[in-house]
Symmetry: C2
Subunit: 299 residues, 2 copies
């Protein structure tokens, strides 16, 4: 089945101690859509400016991403630039130019409205609501978010949490949202806010799923070298949703394996700048790493 | 089979944001010996002063720990006092009084010298060498260490690494030892220093085993509340070694499950001050948490 993904579509200028890469294809929806495309057909909903490079459109198309929900507007594409410290765990934003995303209103083509799987990738909660308002009985809805929305749009986000099946967020965001620095307690408090499934990402330490079946501890795929972690979380949730949409029966039964596939695609994302490594991956590469994760979690 | 454990035997005064507990039974050998005792007969090698409380001797005996290698000397027992911050991840040492441990020389009773499993729990590397010098063809030797020895006794430690089967250390120590902040790279560099098995502890994020079979990612048992993490690492390696000694055949084949048992006993350790919670555990409690870890790692 197909996946609808709304989120940011951006140009990222990324500086690491090793290199500088201007105007890469970035944004939560770009990373998530490419990651999901390995498993299921993807419909991308977003906005770019007239300056958006043609090769990036071609890249989406190479991944057979449906672009009928991608608006191309007069003005500039959202541009983010950031810098990573030596250990790649801390990053700081150097500049943010909102461009056309500032007044983005995601209006869905009619054909999109009955998409069964909906991923509300990281973007303003008001826009995530707006997309959900247009959907017709989706089968499974996941929302991703970031610290910015916890700071400036918490009410919108809290209302959204009552409308979704799963929330994905990282550990520091979970602690910010719940005021608890214990992962179990944070998950318990988030369940009370609405989502039946809570997925807390812990970067190189993997991720945790909490739902009525208890906990699942999902390992991260261990990497010898991290080139650029930008978009790893978006790739994780994109691949997770793409995998879920490719399975039959109750999606809740397949969440664990979906997270493992998310872990693997996120690991590829970290091995190159922007989506450079991810777009060179083939299904076989993913399956190989999934088998490796199986082997290293077995006891 | 039985396990010989050498390490520190101490009185710990521990302050947390919630409580203050003076002169608890502590030290690496105490935690490790009690943890190992759930699985195998334990021979403790250490030193205490005349002030060492009788009830603590009784506690060792309750766990059927062979105390013929425990020296009771004129003077005071090693005393450590420390304080934890709110999140329980950072601690600072308030005072260290070495007492009788300053001139400790671990001379083994003859009956100890052929113990097949040897755990060199955290203590000065020179003393760990001294114990190993007296052993007769041990089957499996694990060494644990701490940042202090990396700072003041690195040469002794490096020589020791050529004499042991496994090194256990935490992630910050691994990075200090290898100058690499990548876990895989750190493990690779430590293998070159000697140990066939490298176990890197990551606290609440679990632990990693690296050996010729590849990697094993061992989950931590998730806790709702951490009361006092002092001794969790010692409990981990003690239970690991105790479990290993209880298995048949090649110990290398049983290392993964040994680590899982280590994880579980360490989780009990964190739920009480000193060894208070651990000493109330029965085998059934451990087996229950091992089954829970199996369930939450399955995908």
């Amino acid at each position: 089945m197909s996946v609808l993904i709304v989120g940011s579509t951006a140009l990222d200028s990324i500086k690491t101690p090793q290199a500088e890469n201007p105007r890469l294809l970035g944004g939560s929806a770009s990373h998530a859509a490419i990651a999901a495309s390995f498993f299921s057909p993807v419909k991308l909903v977003g906005v770019v400016g007239e300056d958006f490079p043609k090769p990036y459109i071609k890249l989406y198309q190479k991944h057979r991403i449906d672009l009928s929900g991608l608006q191309i507007q007069q003005g500039k594409t959202f541009h983010w630039s950031g810098e990573y410290e030596v250990n790649m765990n801390n990053r700081r934003t150097l500049a943010t130019e909102l461009g056309v995303i500032e007044h983005f209103s995601p209006t869905l083509p009619d054909a999109h409205k009955s998409t069964p799987y909906v991923l509300l990738a990281n973007i303003a909660p008001a826009l995530q609501h707006h997309v959900l308002d247009q959907m017709w009985k989706p089968k499974f809805v996941i929302v991703d978010t970031m610290d910015l929305w916890l700071n400036i749009a918490l009410d919108d986000l809290l209302r959204l949490l009552k409308r979704v099946d799963a929330l994905v967020l990282n550990d520091s965001e979970a602690h910010q949202l719940t005021k608890s620095d214990n992962t179990l307690e944070a998950a318990r408090l988030i369940h009370k806010m609405g989502p039946r499934h809570v997925i807390i990402k812990k970067g190189e330490h993997g991720s945790i799923l909490s739902n009525k079946d208890g906990l699942f501890v999902c390992p991260a795929y261990p990497l010898k070298k991290v080139v650029d972690p930008t978009g790893a979380g978006d790739s994780f949730v994109g691949a997770l949703m793409g995998y879920l949409a490719s399975t039959r029966g109750n999606p809740e039964k397949n969440l664990r394996r979906a997270m493992v596939h998310g872990s693997v695609v996120a690991s590829f994302c970290c091995e190159g700048f922007g989506v450079k490594r991810t777009t060179r991956v083939v299904k076989r590469d993913i399956q190989k790493r999934v088998r490796e994760l199986e082997a290293l979690a077995r006891f």
